[in-house]
Symmetry: C2
Subunit: 188 residues, 2 copies
Amino acid sequence: MSRWQPNARGRLEQAALELYVERGFDQTTVAEIAERAGLTERTFFRYFADKREVLFWGQGALTELVTKHIADAEDSASPIDAVGAALRATGETFKGRREHARRRQAVIDANQGLQERELIKLSSLAVAMAEELGRRGVGDPTAKLTAETGVAVSKVAFDRWINASKDTDLAQVVVESLDELRALTAST
Amino acid sequence: MSRWQPNARGRLEQAALELYVERGFDQTTVAEIAERAGLTERTFFRYFADKREVLFWGQGALTELVTKHIADAEDSASPIDAVGAALRATGETFKGRREHARRRQAVIDANQGLQERELIKLSSLAVAMAEELGRRGVGDPTAKLTAETGVAVSKVAFDRWINASKDTDLAQVVVESLDELRALTAST
């Protein structure tokens, strides 16, 4: 069992999500996850620090992706357009992952500790986005306001996406949600 | 010491905040808070379930206030205007409390567990606001989007208010932040 295992991370992630849904997050052990994946606990710990990290390991890559797209936006793009483009581009990378995202969300919704972790994740993302806007020359409080608004839009878009009756693209829902934000703030 | 103590809650809150700033939240005990306030531990527990609640007991009243003002907004008010009016009216109630708010925020910023609690508070506030908008006949996702955006605006406004070089009204900063949101979402 110490040989390299093809797609060990993916298999462990899949096994963990199944077990979290079936038994609850707190009731699942790393030993059970490894067993379900046909791998050893040692292999599990080569990929994840603990069973919570199975749900959050993508955070670093997500933040990097969003901030990279903010940095890459055209110089002429307004702060909200730079953020909108970044969220749309990031949404593209979720293609084909809706079922996975739904399951992950169900596990998080059922556990307060995981909800707190998810909120910390979104809050850190807003801080990173505001900093990246700052590097584009956007001053505060505009940078913070745009970043927090961007996170608000992506929360709502994500929620719509995973709860939609048919499979849609997250990127498309992000665009719609941002358009709706424009419409609702324009109405007085 | 078992007699009624005038303004026991306020004295305990003041003593707790002082100690949290001086020693850190984790390093402060209920016994020390009670002693600093010149009251007994028993009195402390008559007002607060634990030392964390000293920082969060106002949450219920805050949520009630915001949702009441959303409910009271004129029928013709758009969702974002109902939320804006509610946040402004709630901001009014913070008059004269900036020093207290700054201290409280410093304590929270220094402790990850308290930050998580604060994020949960804001997330619950967004849920309550969306529900209240729903009772006004606002459908989803507009209700959720407006509520999340409202919370984003109030986070940024609160941050500006406590960090401003001179004392200003939170209500005024809320109005400015909302105006800025309108301006930045209108720009393309």
